[in-house]
Amino acid sequence: MRRWLPGWLHWPQLDVPLLAGLLLLMGCGLLVLYSASGADADVVNRQAVRLAVGLAAMLVLSQVPPHILKIWTPWLFTLGLALLLATWFVGTGRATNRWLDLGLVRFQPSEIMKLAVPMMVAWYLHPRRLPPDLITVLIATFILVIPAVLIARQPDLGTALLVGVSGFFALFLAGLRWRLMFALAGLAVALLPALWYAMHDYQRQRVLTFLDPESDPLGTGWNIIQSKIAVGSGGLFGKGWLHGTQSRLEFIPERHTDFILAVLSEEFGLAGVLVLFAIYLFITGRGLYIASNARSTYARLLAGSLSLTFFVYVLVNAGMVSGLLPVVGVPLPLISYGGTSIVTLLAGFGILMSIHGHRTFIR
């Protein structure tokens, strides 16, 4: 077979441990989703279809060798940027301009950027001498800030954060000097007040509510309070699958999407949460391991950035559900119900698989 096909298109060299971790996660996700949706098999089926589509995307991307990806990178980034600008004018969606309607498919260009930004930063950094010097850092920062700002204006703070952070991780892994890093961090903190003015009213309200949820227990504080009650009432071992009163009686808002971790926490308790964390830790660790073994700078930076960004999803979502962080629309990866993020995430893992599979074929 190998003889008749182009060299890079041989049968998938999937990383079995990573795949196992992902499948385990998806299995748990479907289980929790069944309960969170009120035992609605339709919802679970639709999610399963999405996961299948995502896995297919992963499979396809795992066959594309990193050097091909590297060639596509600037074009993908440019396309993503163009689409983002397009949403500015023709976006559809409830009160926000996130969606672009392409006839059959509606999708969020910001999802492309979740992959395109770390790719672009890695692409920009890979020929340069590392650790990057100040100018390189500034240009790389520019690359990640432009799409992040565009997405934040949509407004989609969660995705903007993820996009920005993924670019930053590439920089960090490239050996960004600590001094520069602290300088950037200082700059970011200094810009916080400016961010406050740039925020929409509902976003400000979320932050205020996060600071004091009990100030409006029936309004904006409801989500945080009910989520914390769900988590806390779960205890050590939870109320049992399908027996979470907070979720079954619809006290948890967005319980099958952004707040699905609250359902899991309520029904499976601390034990379930720790098992989930362990799976996430394993997947992140495995991703970093793959990155470390990659042979090209581009592949390393990209793989490392994708792995760490994946973890940021978990961190932000779990922090939000437990009331540690303000409510931002970041799903629990591969568990929350919802289309585009699943496909993007699995596509990202496809890239990781490819980097893993092609580690010996790199020039």
Binding site: L218, S233, F251, L270, R300
Partner: protein, 624 residues
């Protein structure tokens, strides 16, 4: 290196040390993984804090979230007349309720609701006033007793009104309408102002409370005790299942001593005239009828009376809201004479055969003003029998003078004059039984003999209520026992099959010096109806039933006999007609006091009404 050198350096050195970069990357990846691990540990710590350390608090809040304690209001006790006919009942009805937390802004909501359901004008004001009564996610009633059309219209548009619901309940209804208003009173919507007099916890689910009459006096018995339901609700507050239930204890059913037939007889006999009738069973102090006219329909008040209806009642002739039986203060006039006469006999001031000459006018020494008899030229020499039969003023002028006001006061007080009777209704008027001390206290003035003279015929300062008058006659009829009259005859506790009889408490046992004295007064009263010259001989029954009675006239304005009342006298200046009676004479079973306002003479106007009431009762009594 300065910045320019750096730029040149980075651009001009494409040759990279791959091994070094890889090693550096691995270092950074290790740092990143360590940070990931630390972050996860912090997260895990947060979950430990929530799920282990604060578990109990959140478990409680989770339970409180889903479990609501819903009060289950008891059914209000029913009320029957003494023969078991319902006079206050509960009917299934629908009310409109809103859960403010779910409904959003009230103003626009009410506007939209108003388009399909006619809401009371004060709905928003009432809502705001009563809001503190209700807890978060409690539903607040907006309108009671929806019509079928309104229920249907709402059902169609229901999806437009989040948090608004039509709820079935039991509504109070008074099938006899205005006939019993002044006895039963009515229930009205429970207001925050009402909560002061009840246990708030017991009234959480209750929407109506007794506002006046029996409904108010026996509120606690009629209301019962609220039950509780622990229900599981979802976040929208919809009840999913009942987890626990403690049943309410329904209110007691009350049986009143009122006899509907007697009540109606009195009502009909009064006709269009304003007045009052009180009938009491002298054997036990049970009230048989209690009519005050005009009255109003109590059902109007149950669901919240409209401003227009209320204004109509307020401005109606004869003040329908005024309960004349309890609050109406009338001069007793000649109806006081039997009691004054009994005082004279019992206190030894006069004896059976003593005669007084009536010449038409009575003078006090050194006073030129005459005190007149009603009959020009007087009645001649009369004894106590004749004095009662013909209502001879001079006899009682003299007797009053001989008794003196204070002795008269003390004796009549034993019959309940000048004090509330203690009937089971609120707000009773005490009336006035004058004495020297009373006048000094009231006006700071000394007592004049002339005031004693007219007090002997029930004029001057004397004020009695119809219920007082009837209750005083009870004492005379039964030979000395004064009861606190009772409307409540029996109570049926929920679950019991039989009602428990409620006895009227005895207020006073009037000492009897000689039973013959009492018989003398009774005989005098019998002659009022049956005597040849009796003032009320027109109402003498043909069937041999014997009635003892006494007429009276309460002056509205002081008038001289010379300008006797005639057709031309403006109605509102005409005297009130009074009549008291009991029957049957030998074994009395009913006492009646009647007032016909502006009726003129007692015998002509009030006696026939009294007769109709007596007939209704005596006829009832003969029924098996």
């Amino acid at each position: 290196m300065n910045i320019r050198q750096r730029i040149r350096h980075s651009q001009s050195s494409p040759i990279k040390d791959q091994a070094l970069e890889s090693r550096r990357f691995t270092e950074r990846a290790a740092v990143a993984f360590a940070l990931v691990a630390v972050a996860l540990m912090l997260l895990a710590a947060r979950y430990v804090y929530l799920q282990v350390l604060s578990h109990e608090e959140f478990a409680t809040r989770s339970t409180n979230n889903r479990v609501r304690v819903v009060p289950v209001p008891p059914n209000r006790g029913l009320i029957y007349d003494r023969r078991g006919r319902p006079i206050a009942e509960n009917r299934p009805a629908y009310r409109l309720e809103v859960v403010p937390e779910k409904a959003g802004e009230l103003g626009p909501l009410l506007e939209r609701l108003g388009a399909i359901i006619a809401l009371p004008e004060d709905v928003q004001e009432r809502f705001e006033r009563n809001r503190p009564r209700y807890r978060v996610f409690d539903s607040v009633p907006l309108k009671f007793n929806l019509s079928e059309a309104e229920v249907a219209r709402f059902a169609v548009d229901r999806h437009r009104f989040d948090g608004v619901d039509v709820v079935p309940y039991l509504a109070r209804h008074y099938p006899q309408g205005e006939l019993l208003t002044h006895v039963l009173g009515y229930v009205g919507r429970l207001d925050v102002d009402d909560l002061g007099r009840v246990d708030e916890g017991n009234y959480r689910g209750t929407t109506h409370i007794g506002k006046t009459g029996i409904e108010r006096y026996y509120e606690s018995a009629l209301h019962g005790s609220s039950g509780l339901e622990k229900v599981e609700t979802n976040s929208q507050g919809r009840t999913l299942q009942v987890l626990e239930r403690s049943s309410p204890v329904h209110g007691d059913d009350l049986v009143l001593s009122i006899d509907l037939e007697v009540q109606r007889a009195a009502w009909d006999a009064l006709g269009e005239r304003a007045g009052a009738v009180v009938a009491i069973d002298p054997n036990d102090g049970a009230v048989l009828a209690m009519v005050s006219k005009p009255a109003y329909d109590p059902n109007l008040f149950v669901h919240g009376i409209s401003t227009a209806d209320y204004r109509a009642i307020l401005s109606a002739r004869g003040r329908p809201l005024f309960n004349r039986t309890l609050l109406g203060g009338y001069e007793p006039g000649s109806t006081l004479k039997p009691f004054v006469g009994l005082a004279g006999l019992e206190l030894g001031v006069i004896s059976d055969g003593d005669e007084v000459f009536s010449g038409g006018e009575f003078y006090l020494p050194n006073v030129s003003r005459p005190y007149r008899d009603w009959k020009r030229g007087g009645h001649g020499s009369v004894n106590i029998y004749e004095a009662l039969e013909q209502s001879v003023n001079t006899f009682f002028y003299q007797l009053a003078l001989d008794l003196g006001i204070d002795r008269m006061h003390d004796y009549l007080a034993m019959f309940g004059f000048g004090a509330p009777t203690g009937i089971d209704l609120l707000g009773e008027n005490a009336g006035v039984l004058p004495s020297r001390a009373w006048k000094r206290g009231q006006f700071g003035q000394p007592w004049y003999p002339g005031e004693t003279v007219i007090a002997g015929i029930g004029q001057g300062f004397n004020v009695t209520t119809p219920v007082q008058l009837a209750n005083a006659l009870v004492v005379l009829a039964n030979g000395g026992t004064r009861f606190e009259p009772r409307l409540l005859y029996a109570v049926k506790h929920p679950g019991n099959t039989r009602a428990d009889r409620i006895e009227s408490p005895v207020a006073q046992q009037v000492p009897v010096a000689d039973p013959a004295h009492w018989d003398t007064i009774r005989e005098g009263m019998r002659r009022v109806v049956h005597g040849r010259k009796g003032t009320a001989r027109a109402i003498r029954p043909d069937d041999g039933t014997e009635i003892a009675g006494k007429s009276g006239t309460a002056q509205v304005v002081a008038q001289d006999r010379d300008e006797d009342m005639d057709e031309d006298t403006a109605e509102h200046l005409r005297h009130h007609a009074l009549f008291i009676a009991y029957a049957p004479f030998e074994r009395p079973s009913i006492v009646v006091a009647t007032v016909v306002e502006h009726g003129g003479g007692g015998s002509a106007e009030a006696a026939p009404v009294t007769r109709a009431v007596l007939d209704a009762w005596l006829y009832q009594e003969r029924l098996p």
